[in-house]
């Protein structure tokens, strides 16, 4: 697939506050890319720079190979679904959707047809004459989508579009968005702080924190092989532990040696201090003394399909989070085992100073 948007070394600060610390990002045609991160990580600013609402202090924005850094928002073939929809309150639904078509000076017949088509696409056929304040949150969201796609942009930017909806509606809209994306065949750049949304819908997830891109990859890659503790913690529940490589392809955590699959070749030589991620569903419960290490169950929660347990290890102070389909009682002593390939060894996160030096280079 051809590259459609490229960000090169984007730096942006507001007053003295650096929001983006050199962002490089490439988005392919027809890709669903999600920028994921906690609030204040710079994802919204990145989106606003792509949309043309902010100018970066440094770095360039390319669209189809053309530098559009200084092109104003109203000239870009990019439309946005805003966080609070920003529907025009004094216009009815039809006029809201028709806005960009009127700006372009299309004739009435075309406008009417395109508005009706757009409404049908978002499953709100015949809503032309409704007033904005008569719509529910979910309907407003769909109208905002219809308004943004009616002019057939090359790229659709979505700024936490589902943030204001309740859980059930949000899940419905996730399917809806994926369907729309397929039918329209355009590029989506999506922003969210909700890891579940990011994992379900995206082709590519870009995890951001403190103005840096932490990791980018497919949802599977991000989940299975987080590059550092931040990503691991942000994507799903995890046991994130501090450890040290005690031997080639062996990591020692809390006084116990665990065989793993990363060694010197992967950049983790013996005696290197590392972070380790073990997903709670990857820890198997075995009879006491038969596993790699032992512990006592201190609490148990039933969460729909599985049980979530906290297990106090025998050797140290670590409390392990486990997810298991079988029921075990609180107070039970168990053994635990984890496959070497399910132990994810990561570098300690870059300190801000280290990162700053890297930017200077």
């Amino acid at each position: 697939m051809a590259e459609l948007i490229r960000l090169e070394g984007i730096v942006k600060s507001f007053d003295d506050n650096i929001v983006l610390n050199g962002i490089d990002l490439s988005v392919d045609e027809n890709e669903f890319v999600t920028l994921l991160g906690p609030s204040g990580c710079g994802k919204t600013t990145t989106l606003r720079i792509i949309g043309g609402f902010e100018t970066p202090d440094q770095g360039r924005v390319y669209f189809n190979g053309v530098d559009i850094t200084d092109m104003p928002a109203n000239k870009r073939p990019i439309n946005t679904v805003f966080q609070n929809y920003a529907l025009f309150p004094h216009m009815d639904v039809g006029e809201n959707i028709a806005f960009s078509l009127r700006v372009k000076g299309e004739d009435e017949k075309t406008i009417k047809k395109k508005v009706a088509d757009a409404l049908e696409l978002v499953n709100l056929k015949g809503f032309e004459k409704r007033r904005i304040d008569q719509l529910s949150g979910g309907q407003q969201q769909r109208i905002a989508m219809a308004r943004a796609i009616v002019n057939e942009p090359k790229v659709l930017l979505l700024d936490e579009p589902l943030g204001a909806l309740d859980l059930k509606l949000r899940q419905e809209m996730e399917y809806e968005l994926v369907r729309l994306k397929k039918e329209l065949g355009i590029t989506f750049i999506y922003i969210t702080h909700d890891q579940e949304e990011a994992l379900t819908m995206s082709d590519k997830v870009v995890v951001m924190n403190e103005g840096y891109i932490q990791q980018e990859g497919t949802p599977q890659e991000i989940y299975d092989e987080p590059v550092n503790a931040f990503v691991a913690d942000f994507i799903g529940d995890s046991n994130i532990l501090s450890g040290v490589m005690s031997d080639e392809k062996v990591v020692r955590i809390d006084g116990i040696d665990y065989p793993c699959i990363d060694g010197t070749e992967e950049g983790f030589p013996p005696r290197r201090k590392v972070d380790v991620v073990i997903r709670p569903e990857d820890i198997d419960i075995v009879p006491y003394g038969k596993g790699l290490w032992n512990g006592t169950i201190t609490s148990k929660l039933f969460i729909g399909v599985h049980y979530e347990m906290l297990v106090q290890s025998e050797t140290g102070k670590i409390e392990w989070l486990l997810q298991n389909y079988d029921q075990h009682e609180v107070g039970e002593k168990i053994g635990m085992y984890v496959d070497p390939e399910n132990i994810q060894i990561m570098h300690k996160p870059k300190s801000e100073a280290e990162a700053a030096i890297e930017i200077d280079l």
Binding site: G51, P72, N74, K75, P89, F99, V103, D133, A148
Partner: protein, 255 residues
């Protein structure tokens, strides 16, 4: 409450009743008559004052509305701290005693050597109305208007088109109430007019003031009645508009 209402409105009611009195007396009812209204409309002096009052009110309100609205838009682009300072400064003229404003304006006109007359009154009225316009338009400019403006740009609108089609309709309720408020303030004003007018030009209030010195004619009651009715009408218009806007806001919030 009833007594308060009585104190407030009984004198005005008396005035209105007396303006329809057949005889020129303040205590005897001589039957219904429109002759004082007739006298009023035939008096060139009084008609001149009426025309002055309302033309100044309309023009001053227009100028204040345009300048005030532009000021609000300019302020919106500034930093929050600067905005708050400016809003604070904006409040001073409204709290300031009219007589101080009036004398200050008079001194200013003397200083620059402006011949005092219609134009100086108009200028003064426009000046003291601007803060009221700012106060009523300002709340309409907020983050949501910013977002709507950005949304319009995003959809390809030019800055001018986005302003005209999206921002202006959002500000419109504030602009109209600012205009109506300015209009009533201007019609109402006596002190500032008194100090900034020149010889030979009168508004309704200054005319009544000078007539009182000679002796009150019932045609002045008729004039006052008209002023009262106009002020009442404008006030009602503002209130109706306001309550309608509130209701719309409420439905927006519950939706």
């Amino acid at each position: 409450m009833l007594i308060v209402m009585l104190f407030l409105y009984l004198p005005i009611l008396t005035l209105i009743v007396l303006s329809f009195n057949e005889v020129k007396s303040m205590s005897v009812w001589g039957g219904f008559s429109l002759k004082w209204y007739q006298e009023l409309f035939q008096s060139r002096l009084m008609m001149g004052a009426i025309v002055n009052t309302f033309s100044i009110a309309i023009l001053a309100a227009l100028i204040a509305t345009v300048v005030g609205t532009m000021a609000v838009l300019g302020m919106a682009a500034m930093k929050p701290r600067t905005q708050n300072t400016l809003l604070g400064i904006n409040n001073i003229p409204m709290l300031n005693a009219d007589i101080v404003t009036g004398i200050a304006l008079m001194l200013f006109f003397l200083m620059v050597g402006a011949p005092r007359g219609y134009m100086t009154i108009l200028f003064s009225h426009a000046t003291f109305c601007i803060p009221y316009v700012i106060l009523s338009v300002r709340p309409r400019v907020n983050r949501s208007t910013d977002r709507l403006y950005e949304a319009a740009l995003d959809l390809g609108a030019s800055e001018r088109y986005a302003f005209r089609k999206i921002v202006l309709p959002e500000l419109w309720p504030g602009i109209t109430s600012g205009f109506l408020l300015s209009f009533t303030m201007s019609v109402d004003d006596f002190i500032i007019t008194y100090f900034t007018r020149g010889a030979g030009i009168n508004t309704i209030s200054t005319l009544i003031y000078s007539e009182v010195k000679i002796g009150i004619r019932p045609s002045l009651f008729a004039l006052s009645t008209i002023v009262f009715v106009v002020a009442l009408a404008v006030l009602l218009a503002v209130n109706v508009r306001q309550s309608r806007a509130d209701r719309e806001d409420n439905t927006l919030q519950t939706a």
